[in-house]
Subunit: 192 residues, 2 copies
């Protein structure tokens, strides 16, 4: 039996997600939570300045959270959105978050990179809410990759709604905080 | 401590990767290996008709392999390429396969979907070799997602070389085999 692929989220995240009945009524509250995770990830030195979470769209019940843990986990796919999506799916026991009777929402402190954007239709979420823009992440040195120009329109062809610029200024502050703290930019070697 | 995200590759894969000194000299041999994994995944009923592997580009030494295990692992991100990339990175102990003194090559039985394509620049590979085309996968019902029109040109801006249509007919045969065996198409609910 090959050893499983294991990706560990930071230990501090437990305290932020451990309550079974946490709900966040508005998209702004959900975004503030994602931004808080991004900030704690920077302050704890556990990864890049990115946080994300999956909520039940209607109730705002928190299903799962993720932060960027690429460097610490030696895993380039361990972006915040990917961790939130995969953890939520393990929690509900299905590869498709749209399979049950509840719609799910991905809330991410920064617009998804090309990989995470590609992951969204597969995930089964019905909506995505973004804080900072791709150009905000790029302005501190992270690459976002090549996305379709009208990526929001592309998502809508899958029935997925997108909201941008929710608490953008607060999300940008975490990016700036990361830069000022000397945080590592880990674009692939090819981009160095 | 939150439980780690765990994704298990099928047990049979061990026998296909367990030898420490397996090398595949040519891209065709590497592709035949990726196609074999895809076929075994179908025949063992362990996932979709997709196989991938990471090789040291010069020597052809096999570093890690992956197959699609989305349905069995309740994980929409568990595509063959993602599993091969993440497993290779855990093996070498770095999130960037370009960080050491060896170039790495991703060989995949079918052209990457939008998510896996987005993962390629982050992974640190210097080349990618594809068997079947995206339209071959779409012709049996899998969605590939919206990719930049000139995705090969986009990869080349990262210094990543792409080869297509390597053993394409053999790769297509596995797709057909999957379809004929009644294999499950697991596009997100939104696309149903």
């Amino acid at each position: 039996m090959p050893p499983p692929l294991q990706i560990h989220l930071p230990a501090w995240l437990d305290a932020e997600t451990g309550h079974d009945s946490v709900t966040f009524a508005t998209v702004e509250e959900r975004m503030q939570y994602a931004i808080k995770l991004a900030r704690l990830n920077v302050e704890n030195g556990t990864g890049g300045p990115f946080g994300a979470a999956i909520f039940e769209r209607l109730s705002g019940h928190l299903v799962a959270a993720g932060v960027n843990c690429v460097v610490g986990q030696n895993c380039s796919i361990a972006h915040a959105e990917m961790m939130a999506i995969a953890t939520a799916q393990q929690k509900i026991g299905h590869y498709d978050l749209g399979a049950g009777d509840k719609d799910h929402e991905l809330v991410t402190s920064v617009e998804p990179c090309a990989m995470c954007l590609g992951a969204v239709p597969w995930s089964g979420v019905s909506s995505i809410v973004c804080g900072a823009r791709a150009e905000d992440a790029e302005s501190i040195g992270f690459k976002e990759g090549a996305k379709p120009k009208d990526w929001i329109g592309e998502l809508s062809t899958h029935g997925i709604e997108t909201q941008r610029d929710v608490c953008r200024a607060a999300a940008v502050r975490v990016l700036t905080q990361y830069l000022e703290s000397g945080g590592m930019l880990y674009n692939g070697t090819r981009d160095a």
